[in-house]
Symmetry: C2
Subunit: 224 residues, 2 copies
Protein backbone atom coordinates (compact mmCIF):
# COMPACT_ATOMS: atom_id res chain seq x y z
CA UNK A 1 0.00 0.00 0.00
CA UNK A 2 3.05 2.20 -0.45
CA UNK A 3 1.31 5.52 -0.08
CA UNK A 4 3.44 8.37 -1.18
CA UNK A 5 4.54 9.83 2.15
CA UNK A 6 2.67 13.08 1.94
CA UNK A 7 4.23 15.74 4.07
CA UNK A 8 0.83 16.88 5.18
CA UNK A 9 -0.20 13.71 6.96
CA UNK A 10 -3.05 14.38 9.34
CA UNK A 11 -2.63 14.27 13.07
CA UNK A 12 -4.76 11.68 14.76
CA UNK A 13 -6.56 12.07 18.05
CA UNK A 14 -8.87 10.01 20.22
CA UNK A 15 -11.87 11.80 21.68
CA UNK A 16 -13.72 10.31 24.61
CA UNK A 17 -17.41 10.48 25.29
CA UNK A 18 -17.40 9.59 28.95
CA UNK A 19 -20.85 8.85 30.30
CA UNK A 20 -21.69 8.85 33.96
CA UNK A 21 -24.85 8.74 35.99
CA UNK A 22 -25.16 11.20 38.85
CA UNK A 23 -27.97 13.07 40.56
CA UNK A 24 -30.43 10.87 38.76
CA UNK A 25 -29.27 12.05 35.37
CA UNK A 26 -27.13 10.70 32.59
CA UNK A 27 -24.14 12.97 32.25
CA UNK A 28 -21.18 13.40 30.01
CA UNK A 29 -17.75 14.70 30.91
CA UNK A 30 -16.75 17.90 29.14
CA UNK A 31 -13.66 20.01 29.39
CA UNK A 32 -13.18 23.68 28.75
CA UNK A 33 -10.42 24.38 26.30
CA UNK A 34 -7.66 26.65 27.48
CA UNK A 35 -6.10 27.16 24.05
CA UNK A 36 -7.06 28.27 20.59
CA UNK A 37 -8.92 27.35 18.55
CA UNK A 38 -12.19 27.22 20.47
CA UNK A 39 -10.54 28.58 23.60
CA UNK A 40 -12.99 28.74 26.54
CA UNK A 41 -15.47 26.50 24.76
CA UNK A 42 -16.63 23.13 25.98
CA UNK A 43 -15.31 20.11 24.11
CA UNK A 44 -14.96 16.40 24.62
CA UNK A 45 -11.77 15.35 26.32
CA UNK A 46 -9.27 13.96 23.87
CA UNK A 47 -5.64 13.47 23.18
CA UNK A 48 -3.19 12.98 20.37
CA UNK A 49 -2.20 9.46 19.49
CA UNK A 50 1.39 8.85 20.50
CA UNK A 51 3.85 7.48 18.03
CA UNK A 52 3.88 4.06 19.61
CA UNK A 53 0.39 3.87 20.93
CA UNK A 54 -2.92 2.56 19.63
CA UNK A 55 -5.90 4.85 19.55
CA UNK A 56 -7.52 2.81 22.26
CA UNK A 57 -4.46 3.29 24.43
CA UNK A 58 -4.72 6.99 23.79
CA UNK A 59 -8.32 6.97 24.89
CA UNK A 60 -7.45 5.03 28.03
CA UNK A 61 -4.70 7.49 28.80
CA UNK A 62 -7.14 10.38 28.50
CA UNK A 63 -9.54 8.54 30.75
CA UNK A 64 -6.89 7.92 33.33
CA UNK A 65 -5.80 11.55 33.25
CA UNK A 66 -9.25 13.03 33.40
CA UNK A 67 -11.08 10.82 35.83
CA UNK A 68 -8.46 8.42 37.08
CA UNK A 69 -10.17 5.25 35.98
CA UNK A 70 -8.76 2.24 34.27
CA UNK A 71 -9.99 -1.13 33.09
CA UNK A 72 -13.42 0.05 32.18
CA UNK A 73 -15.66 -0.60 29.26
CA UNK A 74 -14.49 1.38 26.27
CA UNK A 75 -16.00 1.19 22.85
CA UNK A 76 -14.78 2.63 19.59
CA UNK A 77 -17.56 4.46 17.80
CA UNK A 78 -16.45 6.22 14.63
CA UNK A 79 -13.72 8.13 12.88
CA UNK A 80 -14.19 11.68 11.64
CA UNK A 81 -12.05 12.95 8.83
CA UNK A 82 -13.60 16.05 7.30
CA UNK A 83 -10.61 18.11 6.19
CA UNK A 84 -11.96 21.28 7.78
CA UNK A 85 -13.24 19.83 11.03
CA UNK A 86 -10.27 21.45 12.74
CA UNK A 87 -9.93 25.06 11.64
CA UNK A 88 -6.16 25.16 11.88
CA UNK A 89 -4.67 21.83 10.94
CA UNK A 90 -5.79 18.56 9.55
CA UNK A 91 -6.85 16.41 12.47
CA UNK A 92 -8.58 13.08 12.12
CA UNK A 93 -10.25 11.85 15.26
CA UNK A 94 -11.58 8.53 16.43
CA UNK A 95 -14.24 8.58 19.10
CA UNK A 96 -14.77 6.17 21.96
CA UNK A 97 -17.46 6.01 24.51
CA UNK A 98 -16.85 4.94 28.08
CA UNK A 99 -19.05 4.30 31.09
CA UNK A 100 -17.94 5.33 34.56
CA UNK A 101 -19.41 5.92 37.96
CA UNK A 102 -18.92 9.62 38.50
CA UNK A 103 -19.43 9.40 42.24
CA UNK A 104 -16.12 7.75 42.71
CA UNK A 105 -14.12 10.01 40.46
CA UNK A 106 -13.88 13.73 40.38
CA UNK A 107 -12.74 14.97 37.01
CA UNK A 108 -9.59 17.02 36.94
CA UNK A 109 -8.65 19.59 34.35
CA UNK A 110 -5.29 18.80 32.86
CA UNK A 111 -3.25 19.51 29.82
CA UNK A 112 -5.02 22.00 27.62
CA UNK A 113 -8.16 22.10 29.69
CA UNK A 114 -9.00 24.84 32.16
CA UNK A 115 -12.01 23.08 33.57
CA UNK A 116 -13.61 19.64 33.58
CA UNK A 117 -17.08 18.79 34.72
CA UNK A 118 -20.15 16.64 34.22
CA UNK A 119 -23.05 17.91 32.14
CA UNK A 120 -26.52 16.44 31.68
CA UNK A 121 -26.70 14.78 28.31
CA UNK A 122 -30.19 16.17 27.91
CA UNK A 123 -28.79 19.65 28.16
CA UNK A 124 -25.24 20.06 26.95
CA UNK A 125 -23.76 23.46 26.23
CA UNK A 126 -22.65 24.26 22.67
CA UNK A 127 -19.51 22.33 21.87
CA UNK A 128 -16.46 23.29 19.85
CA UNK A 129 -15.34 21.51 16.67
CA UNK A 130 -17.79 18.85 15.51
CA UNK A 131 -18.01 17.48 19.01
CA UNK A 132 -21.74 17.80 19.24
CA UNK A 133 -22.15 15.38 16.40
CA UNK A 134 -19.59 13.05 17.93
CA UNK A 135 -21.50 13.11 21.19
CA UNK A 136 -24.79 12.37 19.47
CA UNK A 137 -23.30 9.50 17.51
CA UNK A 138 -21.79 8.01 20.64
CA UNK A 139 -25.05 8.35 22.53
CA UNK A 140 -26.89 6.66 19.67
CA UNK A 141 -24.43 3.83 19.74
CA UNK A 142 -24.74 3.43 23.47
CA UNK A 143 -28.52 3.31 23.18
CA UNK A 144 -28.20 0.71 20.50
CA UNK A 145 -25.82 -1.43 22.51
CA UNK A 146 -28.16 -1.31 25.45
CA UNK A 147 -30.79 -3.22 23.56
CA UNK A 148 -28.64 -6.29 23.59
CA UNK A 149 -26.26 -5.91 26.48
CA UNK A 150 -27.10 -4.95 30.04
CA UNK A 151 -24.24 -2.54 29.83
CA UNK A 152 -25.72 0.22 31.82
CA UNK A 153 -25.05 -1.45 35.13
CA UNK A 154 -21.51 -0.21 34.76
CA UNK A 155 -22.92 3.21 35.46
CA UNK A 156 -24.64 2.40 38.72
CA UNK A 157 -23.06 2.72 42.14
CA UNK A 158 -22.07 -0.31 44.19
CA UNK A 159 -25.53 -0.59 45.72
CA UNK A 160 -28.60 0.65 43.96
CA UNK A 161 -32.35 0.25 43.90
CA UNK A 162 -34.30 -1.09 40.97
CA UNK A 163 -35.95 2.26 40.50
CA UNK A 164 -32.55 3.87 40.13
CA UNK A 165 -31.63 1.32 37.52
CA UNK A 166 -34.85 2.06 35.67
CA UNK A 167 -34.24 5.80 35.79
CA UNK A 168 -30.84 5.24 34.27
CA UNK A 169 -32.25 3.21 31.42
CA UNK A 170 -34.97 5.72 30.78
CA UNK A 171 -32.45 8.47 30.78
CA UNK A 172 -30.21 6.77 28.31
CA UNK A 173 -32.84 5.75 25.84
CA UNK A 174 -34.88 8.87 26.40
CA UNK A 175 -38.31 7.39 26.97
CA UNK A 176 -40.28 6.09 29.94
CA UNK A 177 -40.48 2.39 30.69
CA UNK A 178 -43.15 0.36 32.42
CA UNK A 179 -42.03 -0.40 35.95
CA UNK A 180 -43.29 -3.95 36.18
CA UNK A 181 -42.10 -4.94 32.74
CA UNK A 182 -38.70 -3.44 33.41
CA UNK A 183 -38.36 -5.32 36.65
CA UNK A 184 -39.45 -8.59 35.16
CA UNK A 185 -36.80 -8.26 32.52
CA UNK A 186 -33.83 -7.31 34.64
CA UNK A 187 -34.70 -9.68 37.47
CA UNK A 188 -33.94 -12.42 34.99
CA UNK A 189 -30.31 -11.40 34.87
CA UNK A 190 -28.45 -13.72 37.16
CA UNK A 191 -25.79 -11.15 37.96
CA UNK A 192 -28.31 -9.03 39.80
CA UNK A 193 -28.31 -9.96 43.48
CA UNK A 194 -30.56 -8.69 46.21
CA UNK A 195 -28.98 -7.47 49.44
CA UNK A 196 -30.63 -7.35 52.83
CA UNK A 197 -30.24 -3.60 53.11
CA UNK A 198 -32.78 -0.93 52.38
CA UNK A 199 -32.17 2.54 51.12
CA UNK A 200 -33.03 5.05 53.82
CA UNK A 201 -34.10 8.59 53.21
CA UNK A 202 -36.55 7.55 50.54
CA UNK A 203 -40.15 6.60 51.07
CA UNK A 204 -41.12 3.01 50.81
CA UNK A 205 -37.70 1.82 51.94
CA UNK A 206 -36.64 0.17 48.70
CA UNK A 207 -34.31 -2.82 48.68
CA UNK A 208 -30.75 -2.40 47.53
CA UNK A 209 -29.22 -4.60 44.87
CA UNK A 210 -25.67 -5.18 43.75
CA UNK A 211 -23.92 -6.68 40.74
CA UNK A 212 -22.14 -10.00 40.85
CA UNK A 213 -19.10 -8.89 38.88
CA UNK A 214 -18.16 -12.34 37.71
CA UNK A 215 -21.55 -13.21 36.26
CA UNK A 216 -21.82 -9.72 34.86
CA UNK A 217 -18.66 -10.05 32.77
CA UNK A 218 -19.90 -13.38 31.50
CA UNK A 219 -23.17 -11.80 30.45
CA UNK A 220 -21.36 -9.10 28.52
CA UNK A 221 -19.15 -11.35 26.52
CA UNK A 222 -21.35 -13.10 24.04
CA UNK A 223 -23.17 -10.54 21.91
CA UNK A 224 -21.58 -8.07 19.58
Amino acid sequence: MRVTPTSNAAAHTADCVIFGFADKELRVLLVRRAVEPFADEWVLPGGAMGSDETLEATARRVLLDMVGVKNIFLQQVATYSEPDRHPVRRVVTTSYYALVKPHQHTPVARGHASDASWHPVANVPPLGFDHHRILVDAHDRLTWHLRTRPLAFDLLPERFTLTEAQRLYEDIIGEPLDKRNFRRKIQNYDFLVETKEKRSGVKGGPLLYRIDRERFSAALSYPR
Copy 2:
Protein backbone atom coordinates in the same frame (compact mmCIF):
# COMPACT_ATOMS: atom_id res chain seq x y z
CA MET B 1 -6.45 20.27 21.15
CA ARG B 2 -3.11 21.70 20.07
CA VAL B 3 -1.36 18.40 19.71
CA THR B 4 2.35 18.78 19.52
CA PRO B 5 2.96 18.30 15.80
CA THR B 6 4.84 15.05 15.97
CA SER B 7 7.01 14.57 12.95
CA ASN B 8 6.05 10.91 12.75
CA ALA B 9 2.37 11.34 12.05
CA ALA B 10 0.82 8.15 10.74
CA ALA B 11 -0.42 7.78 7.21
CA HIS B 12 -4.12 7.10 6.99
CA THR B 13 -5.80 4.74 4.56
CA ALA B 14 -9.31 3.53 3.86
CA ASP B 15 -9.72 -0.19 3.25
CA CYS B 16 -12.84 -1.48 1.56
CA VAL B 17 -14.60 -4.73 2.24
CA ILE B 18 -16.68 -4.98 -0.91
CA PHE B 19 -19.31 -7.66 -0.73
CA GLY B 20 -21.03 -9.07 -3.78
CA PHE B 21 -23.30 -11.99 -4.45
CA ALA B 22 -22.51 -14.17 -7.45
CA ASP B 23 -22.87 -17.83 -8.36
CA LYS B 24 -25.11 -18.25 -5.35
CA GLU B 25 -22.35 -17.26 -2.97
CA LEU B 26 -21.46 -14.25 -0.95
CA ARG B 27 -18.14 -12.97 -2.19
CA VAL B 28 -15.63 -10.33 -1.31
CA LEU B 29 -13.36 -8.42 -3.63
CA LEU B 30 -9.66 -8.96 -3.03
CA VAL B 31 -6.63 -7.64 -4.83
CA ARG B 32 -3.20 -9.10 -5.18
CA ARG B 33 -0.49 -6.73 -4.08
CA ALA B 34 2.18 -5.94 -6.62
CA VAL B 35 4.53 -4.22 -4.19
CA GLU B 36 6.27 -4.92 -0.91
CA PRO B 37 5.42 -5.52 1.80
CA PHE B 38 3.15 -8.52 1.27
CA ALA B 39 3.85 -8.54 -2.47
CA ASP B 40 1.81 -11.22 -4.26
CA GLU B 41 -0.48 -11.68 -1.30
CA TRP B 42 -4.18 -11.06 -1.32
CA VAL B 43 -5.38 -7.98 0.54
CA LEU B 44 -8.44 -5.79 0.74
CA PRO B 45 -8.48 -2.96 -1.75
CA GLY B 46 -7.59 0.33 -0.13
CA GLY B 47 -6.13 3.71 -0.73
CA ALA B 48 -4.38 6.52 1.05
CA MET B 49 -6.49 9.41 2.22
CA GLY B 50 -5.77 12.47 0.11
CA SER B 51 -4.85 15.71 1.76
CA ASP B 52 -8.20 17.28 1.01
CA GLU B 53 -10.42 14.24 1.12
CA THR B 54 -12.50 12.52 3.76
CA LEU B 55 -11.95 8.86 4.44
CA GLU B 56 -15.33 8.08 2.98
CA ALA B 57 -14.36 9.89 -0.20
CA THR B 58 -11.20 7.82 -0.28
CA ALA B 59 -13.25 4.66 0.03
CA ARG B 60 -15.58 5.79 -2.74
CA ARG B 61 -12.62 6.54 -4.94
CA VAL B 62 -11.26 3.05 -4.37
CA LEU B 63 -14.65 1.63 -5.22
CA LEU B 64 -14.89 3.61 -8.38
CA ASP B 65 -11.41 2.56 -9.43
CA MET B 66 -11.83 -1.09 -8.62
CA VAL B 67 -15.33 -1.87 -9.72
CA GLY B 68 -16.56 1.33 -11.30
CA VAL B 69 -19.52 1.85 -9.02
CA LYS B 70 -20.74 4.97 -7.34
CA ASN B 71 -23.62 6.02 -5.14
CA ILE B 72 -23.86 2.75 -3.33
CA PHE B 73 -24.31 1.86 0.27
CA LEU B 74 -21.07 2.35 2.16
CA GLN B 75 -20.68 1.93 5.86
CA GLN B 76 -17.76 2.80 8.09
CA VAL B 77 -16.86 -0.09 10.35
CA ALA B 78 -13.79 0.52 12.46
CA THR B 79 -10.35 2.07 12.69
CA TYR B 80 -7.23 0.02 13.25
CA SER B 81 -4.20 1.66 14.76
CA GLU B 82 -1.81 -0.96 16.09
CA PRO B 83 1.63 0.60 15.60
CA ASP B 84 3.00 -2.53 13.98
CA ARG B 85 0.08 -3.46 11.78
CA HIS B 86 2.11 -2.27 8.80
CA PRO B 87 5.62 -3.72 8.93
CA VAL B 88 7.30 -0.73 7.34
CA ARG B 89 5.59 2.46 8.34
CA ARG B 90 2.92 3.58 10.70
CA VAL B 91 -0.36 3.30 8.86
CA VAL B 92 -3.73 3.75 10.49
CA THR B 93 -6.62 2.42 8.47
CA THR B 94 -10.36 2.88 8.60
CA SER B 95 -12.48 0.14 7.12
CA TYR B 96 -15.72 0.43 5.20
CA TYR B 97 -18.00 -2.20 3.88
CA ALA B 98 -19.90 -1.85 0.65
CA LEU B 99 -22.50 -3.90 -1.17
CA VAL B 100 -22.44 -4.23 -4.94
CA LYS B 101 -23.89 -6.44 -7.62
CA PRO B 102 -20.84 -8.13 -9.04
CA HIS B 103 -22.63 -9.19 -12.21
CA GLN B 104 -22.60 -5.69 -13.52
CA HIS B 105 -19.05 -4.86 -12.65
CA THR B 106 -15.87 -6.66 -13.43
CA PRO B 107 -13.11 -5.69 -11.04
CA VAL B 108 -10.00 -4.21 -12.56
CA ALA B 109 -6.54 -4.31 -11.05
CA ARG B 110 -5.14 -0.82 -10.76
CA GLY B 111 -2.53 1.05 -8.86
CA HIS B 112 -0.46 -1.30 -6.75
CA ALA B 113 -2.58 -4.33 -7.53
CA SER B 114 -1.61 -6.99 -10.03
CA ASP B 115 -4.92 -8.78 -9.87
CA ALA B 116 -8.44 -8.24 -8.59
CA SER B 117 -11.12 -10.85 -8.18
CA TRP B 118 -14.07 -12.08 -6.18
CA HIS B 119 -13.57 -14.72 -3.50
CA PRO B 120 -16.17 -16.67 -1.54
CA VAL B 121 -16.37 -15.24 1.95
CA ALA B 122 -16.65 -18.77 3.28
CA ASN B 123 -13.27 -19.56 1.82
CA VAL B 124 -10.92 -16.63 1.56
CA PRO B 125 -7.20 -17.11 0.99
CA PRO B 126 -4.75 -15.91 3.65
CA LEU B 127 -4.64 -12.14 3.65
CA GLY B 128 -1.76 -9.75 4.18
CA PHE B 129 -1.54 -7.24 7.02
CA ASP B 130 -4.39 -7.57 9.52
CA HIS B 131 -6.89 -7.72 6.72
CA HIS B 132 -8.38 -10.99 7.78
CA ARG B 133 -9.47 -9.44 11.02
CA ILE B 134 -10.80 -6.40 9.18
CA LEU B 135 -12.80 -8.66 6.90
CA VAL B 136 -14.26 -10.60 9.81
CA ASP B 137 -15.21 -7.42 11.64
CA ALA B 138 -16.89 -6.03 8.55
CA HIS B 139 -18.77 -9.25 7.97
CA ASP B 140 -19.91 -9.27 11.58
CA ARG B 141 -21.14 -5.74 11.22
CA LEU B 142 -22.98 -6.52 8.03
CA THR B 143 -24.67 -9.49 9.68
CA TRP B 144 -25.65 -7.30 12.54
CA HIS B 145 -27.06 -4.58 10.32
CA LEU B 146 -29.11 -7.15 8.47
CA ARG B 147 -31.13 -7.86 11.54
CA THR B 148 -32.67 -4.45 11.41
CA ARG B 149 -32.32 -3.28 7.85
CA PRO B 150 -33.26 -5.16 4.71
CA LEU B 151 -29.92 -4.13 3.33
CA ALA B 152 -29.11 -7.25 1.45
CA PHE B 153 -31.42 -6.43 -1.41
CA ASP B 154 -28.68 -4.17 -2.66
CA LEU B 155 -26.82 -7.33 -3.54
CA LEU B 156 -29.51 -8.92 -5.66
CA PRO B 157 -29.85 -8.48 -9.41
CA GLU B 158 -32.63 -6.39 -10.93
CA ARG B 159 -35.03 -9.33 -10.97
CA PHE B 160 -34.77 -12.17 -8.53
CA THR B 161 -36.75 -14.99 -6.99
CA LEU B 162 -37.59 -15.25 -3.33
CA THR B 163 -35.46 -18.35 -3.08
CA GLU B 164 -32.48 -16.40 -4.38
CA ALA B 165 -33.10 -13.75 -1.77
CA GLN B 166 -33.25 -16.40 0.91
CA ARG B 167 -30.00 -17.99 -0.27
CA LEU B 168 -28.32 -14.63 -0.03
CA TYR B 169 -29.51 -14.11 3.52
CA GLU B 170 -28.46 -17.58 4.54
CA ASP B 171 -25.09 -17.03 2.99
CA ILE B 172 -24.52 -13.77 4.79
CA ILE B 173 -25.58 -14.86 8.21
CA GLY B 174 -24.21 -18.35 7.76
CA GLU B 175 -27.15 -20.44 8.86
CA PRO B 176 -30.21 -21.93 7.19
CA LEU B 177 -33.57 -20.21 7.40
CA ASP B 178 -37.08 -21.60 7.26
CA LYS B 179 -38.57 -20.96 3.85
CA ARG B 180 -42.06 -20.05 4.96
CA ASN B 181 -40.98 -17.90 7.84
CA PHE B 182 -38.50 -16.08 5.63
CA ARG B 183 -41.15 -15.39 3.04
CA ARG B 184 -43.64 -14.21 5.60
CA LYS B 185 -41.12 -11.71 6.88
CA ILE B 186 -39.92 -10.24 3.65
CA GLN B 187 -43.32 -10.19 1.98
CA ASN B 188 -44.20 -7.57 4.53
CA TYR B 189 -41.70 -5.15 3.04
CA ASP B 190 -43.62 -2.82 0.81
CA PHE B 191 -40.66 -2.23 -1.48
CA LEU B 192 -40.82 -5.81 -2.70
CA VAL B 193 -42.99 -6.00 -5.78
CA GLU B 194 -44.04 -9.05 -7.70
CA THR B 195 -43.61 -9.05 -11.47
CA LYS B 196 -45.58 -11.12 -13.94
CA GLU B 197 -42.50 -12.91 -15.18
CA LYS B 198 -41.22 -16.29 -14.20
CA ARG B 199 -37.68 -17.47 -14.14
CA SER B 200 -37.09 -20.07 -16.79
CA GLY B 201 -34.47 -22.78 -16.66
CA VAL B 202 -35.37 -23.68 -13.12
CA LYS B 203 -37.97 -26.18 -12.07
CA GLY B 204 -41.15 -24.94 -10.54
CA GLY B 205 -41.05 -21.74 -12.62
CA PRO B 206 -40.62 -19.32 -9.70
CA LEU B 207 -41.97 -15.80 -9.87
CA LEU B 208 -39.56 -12.92 -10.25
CA TYR B 209 -39.62 -9.95 -7.93
CA ARG B 210 -38.05 -6.54 -8.09
CA ILE B 211 -37.29 -3.71 -5.70
CA ASP B 212 -39.18 -0.46 -5.70
CA ARG B 213 -36.15 1.77 -5.27
CA GLU B 214 -38.04 4.66 -3.79
CA ARG B 215 -39.72 2.68 -1.06
CA PHE B 216 -36.51 0.81 -0.49
CA SER B 217 -34.52 3.94 0.34
CA ALA B 218 -37.28 5.02 2.67
CA ALA B 219 -37.12 1.68 4.45
CA LEU B 220 -33.38 2.03 4.95
CA SER B 221 -33.43 5.43 6.48
CA TYR B 222 -35.06 5.07 9.82
CA PRO B 223 -33.11 2.59 11.95
CA ARG B 224 -29.56 2.97 13.07
